[in-house]
């Protein structure tokens, strides 16, 4: 076998496609993105399977009297993966808590949630929310206001849009790195004259850029956030 003489690039790409690395990327993206991203359903399932396997291995090792150092190395690896998984799910649930109404009324965002996350946010019908936060605001403020001002989505009955719903700020800056050479990125910020110019991204170079401009590329997985 010539596995020992793999060119560096292949070796790197091999390493970077293990599930733990993929989880790390998903975690970093989720952490840096202002809005909720698609739930990595397959990846999370695989990771959970692997964690279980690792737990069994560690148990077997410690029962079988394997060298404690080896066991603790396995344990450390396991702990790190566990942390990534928990932190990933935690960041998501906190985003959901924060932008509950915005997510619940936007189908595109709603469909990014996992089954459990959907149950957690409990959407009943598109327009009427029913979760603990809406109930809380309902009871503490809205029910005490005059009739035409009780909506949780609109400032008053004469508002045409939902102007009461907090949304994530997409015009924020993020650090990112592209996986491939990209061209034709439309900048969404800066002086108006500059906006018609298209922006290019080299592979592997760090950029500091407005999230809104690269939103679609993050979603399609071409760009990673850091």
């Amino acid at each position: 076998m010539d596995s020992g003489s793999l060119p560096m690039d292949d070796y790197e790409s091999l390493i970077s496609t293990t599930d733990v690395e993929l989880l790390k990327t998903a975690w970093r993206n989720e952490k840096a993105a202002p809005e909720i991203l698609r739930y990595e359903i397959d990846l999370i399932q695989r990771i959970r399977g692997q964690i279980q396997l690792m737990e069994e291995t560690v148990d077997e090792f410690s029962a079988g009297g394997t060298d404690p150092l080896t066991v603790s190395l396995y344990q450390m690896d396991l702990d790190r993966t566990q942390f990534l998984l928990r932190s990933y799910l935690r960041i998501r649930i906190q985003k959901i808590e924060k932008y509950m109404f915005h997510i619940a009324k936007t189908d595109e965002l709603w469909n990014r949630l996992s089954k459990e996350e959907k149950t957690f946010a409990r959407r009943k019908g598109i327009s009427s929310f029913n979760n603990d936060l809406s109930q809380h605001l309902e009871e503490s403020v809205l029910s005490k206001l005059p009739e035409n001002y009780q909506s949780i989505q609109k400032q008053s009955v004469i508002s045409e849009e939902d102007d009461m719903v907090p949304e994530p700020q997409l015009e924020t800056f993020v650090v990112c790195r592209s996986k491939e050479y990209l061209t034709g990125i439309q900048l969404e910020d800066g002086p108006v004259d500059d906006r018609s110019k298209l922006f290019e991204m080299e592979r592997g170079v760090l950029y500091f850029i407005c999230y809104k401009s690269i939103k679609a590329l993050v979603e399609s997985g071409k760009i990673d956030l850091l």
Binding site: E116, T119, V141, P146, S156
Partner: protein, 199 residues
């Protein structure tokens, strides 16, 4: 001045230390709510007046129309301030759930109004049921692990016979020191019963 009380309410929240709660200002809160009803009454009476004068409420632009508009805008502003106050407080309350856990110490609980306490409880239940569906406890592992084991000192009598994840029991007498799995120790640390010894 219209809207001042509501602004004060929001300012009071904003001037508190980040992530810290101030006591729920129910006096001010109720006053703003009362102000809202007052605005609404005056708004309605102005509109009624216009109707009695036989004017078209939709298109007339006289003093009464602008008067009514001011009341409407003040009401909307008050509503936004009240909602911002509650919404941002709710955000801190949720963060407490992550940082401290489902049981709040008395000095924090005092700062919540009754409805906020309810919300805290309900939210904690919702989160718990989410985690039990996942079969994963998300409240541990709050910081990236450096070492699977950490050295801790017990700050308060926790008691004997506490079962750890490796099925061993431990006696956590006050001031005793232990070498524990991070995941085991974390729950005690977050409740302030143990401290991590570093260096």
């Amino acid at each position: 001045m219209y809207g001042r009380r509501a602004t004060q309410l929001v300012k009071e929240f904003a001037s508190a230390e980040k992530g810290q709660l101030t006591a729920f200002n129910s006096d001010q809160f109720e006053q703003v709510i009362a102000e809202c009803s007052q605005h609404h009454l005056e708004l309605q009476s102005l509109i009624r007046k216009m109707q009695e004068e036989g004017l078209d409420v939709q298109t007339t632009r006289n003093a009464d129309h602008y008067g009514a508009l001011i009341h409407h805008l003040s009401l909307v502003r008050n509503k936004r301030c009240l909602m911002a106050y509650m919404y941002n407080r709710a955000e801190i309350i949720r963060s407490l759930l992550w940082k401290i856990g489902p049981v709040l110490p008395l000095e924090i609980e005092e700062k919540l109004c009754h409805l906020e306490e309810e919300y805290f409880k309900k939210h904690s239940t919702a989160l718990k049921s989410y985690m039990s569906k996942l079969e994963l406890d998300l409240t541990v592992d709050m910081v990236p692990p450096k070492d699977p084991y950490i050295q801790v000192r017990v700050l308060d009598d926790i008691g004997e016979g506490i079962v750890l994840s490796d099925d061993k029991t431990a006696n956590f007498a006050r001031h005793s020191m232990h070498f524990l799995k991070r995941t085991d120790a974390e729950q005690f640390i977050s409740r302030g019963l143990m401290e991590e010894l570093t260096g």
